[in-house]
Each structure stands twice: as C-alpha cells, then as structure tokens.
C-alpha cells in the first residue's frame, strides 16, 4: 500500500513538537480509508458452520466461537482416532459372542475357528456372530462340523472308521479302506 503524504502548510507548533518534527509540516494519511480492512463478507456463515457441529456440547462451548473452535477440533480428532478403535472393538465383541455360543455347544472359540479354517469354511467373525444370534441351529451345525474335523485324527487312529452322524465330509470311503 503506497502511502501518500502531502506537506500541509499552517502547522500547529504543539503538533510539531509532539510528533518530533522540527519542520513546519504535518503529514496526513490520505490512504486512511484504505486502512479500514474488509476481512471478508461471510464470517457469519463460517462461524455458524462451525457452531452447528458444537450445538450438542455442554456449557458455553456450544455458543461461543472461541471456546467452540477448540472443542470441535478435539471432537473431530477423537472421531478420527475412534474409527480405528471402532473396528477393533466390533471384532472383539464378535469374538466374545462367538466364544459364548461355541461354549454353549461344548467347544472353545480357538478350537472352533481353527477347525472351521481347516474345513475351509471362510465365514468371518461378523458372519459367525450373526449366525450364532439369529440362526442358532446353523451355528450348531457349524460347531458339529468343527468338532468332527477336530476329532478326525483321533477317530482315524482309534475309532472304527465310522463317521459322526450328520456331518458331510470329503472322505467318501471309510477311513480303514484308505489305510488298507
């Protein structure tokens, strides 16, 4: 901003002495009007946009801009961090529920998951959790399948070659015939 100065005659001695000028002139800023800064026409709407994220807060944080700015920033940071923990806690809840349901079927959670994996049943924990809540008989069948796969080695070594009832397996012939 260029400053336009103009030397004006008819000076007041007091002004000169105050400003420290020894000369007989006084400067007037002709660009005074330029110093009135217009910071932007839409401050109101920007403030309202921020406050709308703070309306459910407690205290003055939901009304006063400077307090709300800090609170809203924290809230957004917590929300960002929580997206990862939400996935983590949902998986944890699924595992707890599947463990409870498998204990109802006389199996433990690690045994169930490992044996379903061995049977190449690719149901993830979310699907297993939904099944165990809303489709208990399907879950019971899955638990029976896992139990059969778990005891397959024992039955081959010690059993009489018969399959547990109600479990389909890829072994179509009796186990003794394979060894024989």
């Amino acid at each position: 901003m260029t400053r336009m100065w103009r030397h004006v005659a008819g000076v007041s001695a007091l002004l000169c002495s105050k400003s420290g000028f020894t000369g007989s002139v006084i400067m007037v800023f002709l660009t005074l009007s330029r110093w009135i800064r217009n910071r932007g026409p839409d401050r109101y709407w920007k403030v309202q946009e921020l406050l709308k994220s703070a309306r459910h807060f407690r205290g003055r944080k939901n009304r006063c801009y400077s307090l709300a700015v800090r609170a809203v920033r924290r809230a957004f940071v917590y929300a960002s961090k929580a997206r990862k923990t939400k996935r983590h806690s949902m998986r944890q809840l699924w595992i707890q529920r599947i463990a409870a349901a498998s204990r109802e079927q006389h199996m433990k959670y690690p045994a169930l998951i490992h044996n379903l994996l061995k049977c190449s049943v690719q149901l993830n924990r979310r699907a297993l959790c939904d099944l165990c809540i809303s489709e208990p008989r399907s879950f019971k069948a899955l638990a029976a399948l896992a139990c059969a796969r778990r005891t397959e080695g024992f039955r081959a070594a010690l059993g009489d070659g018969s399959h547990p009832p109600g479990v389909f397996s890829r072994i179509t012939q009796p186990i003794t015939a394979q060894h024989g």
Binding site: Q96, R97, A100, E104, C129, C132
Partner: protein
Amino acid sequence: MSSFSRSAQQWATFARSWFLIDARMQPPGKIASVCSVRLQGKHKPIYHPLSDIGDHVVVMNTRHIAFSGNKWEQKVYSSHTGYPGSFKQLTAAQMHKKDPTAIIKLAVYGMLPKNLTRRTMMQRLHLFPDDVLPDDILRNLTEELPQPREIPRKLSEYTQEERDAFPMLWTPCTFLDGCFAGPHTADIQSDL
C-alpha cells in the same frame, strides 16, 4: 424355539436366570471365575458390556471350599481404611473363620470388570455358607451348574471290586503282617 411368538422369544432370550453352584470341596478361584462369567452375561451370544444381561448366581456351601496347597496359611488378605495404624492383614484361614462367604465374595469382586456395573453384578451374587437356602431364592433357581473340580474319592469310598480291579505294578509290602520276621529276610538274601 421357532414356534415361539416374537414376544415369547424375546422374553426367553432376555430373561434373567438363576444359577446354583455347590462349592463343597471346590477351589474358590474356579468357583469365582464361573460366577463372574455368568454375572457378566458372557455365556450368552447376545453379550454386550453395556447391556446388563448378567444372571443371578447362588453359591452354597461356601464354608466348605478347599484351597489347594498351603493357601489357607499363606494367602493374605490385606486392607487399609486410610487412617494411620489401620493396616490389617488376615490369612485366608482367619478370614474364613470370621466370615465364611468373604473369600468367594472377594474373589468374584476381583474377577469382575472394574467399572460401575461391578456393584450391580455383586448384588446379583448370593452366597450361603451352608446348603440351607431361603425359600424365595429356592423358588427362583432355574439351573444347577456342574462343579469345576472333580472331587477325588477317599480310599474308603472305593468298593473292594474297584480296588481289586485297579492295575498294580508291584505288590506293596504291608508292614502290618510283621514282615520284618525271618522268612521274608531269608527270601531277600536268597535273591541276592
């Protein structure tokens, strides 16, 4: 279950059960872990920590619990009220004599999650030192849980047939027959 109406199915799913455990000759820690699982509702597939779906657990015969090892003399329960000079330490035996339900109560309290729901869950735990239960609790009981530890039988509780059928590696010398006498020693010397 599929023949229930929706409201009946909901009632059956979310109803609070009353479980009974007999703590006679059981380790109190194992009893406590079973209790804590049921009190939190972790035995149900609909579990959620905020749902308050825990059940009631009634433990009887808490007077007759059995610590393994030397814990009756070695396990120490400490407490401090905050005032100077009020640090108290009690062995498990002293604590049990003072209050026969305290050991299991403290064990369950320590196994529950450390949040505000813990006190509510403890209110749903009912401990009785003997097998005398009040009528209103007896009427509420729905299921008895199996004991966590299989109680070993004393030798006198085995029948003679079971004792004979037990596989023996060698015949032990019963000193009641007075086998220090001559004929036995003569046999040993002849073997050597």
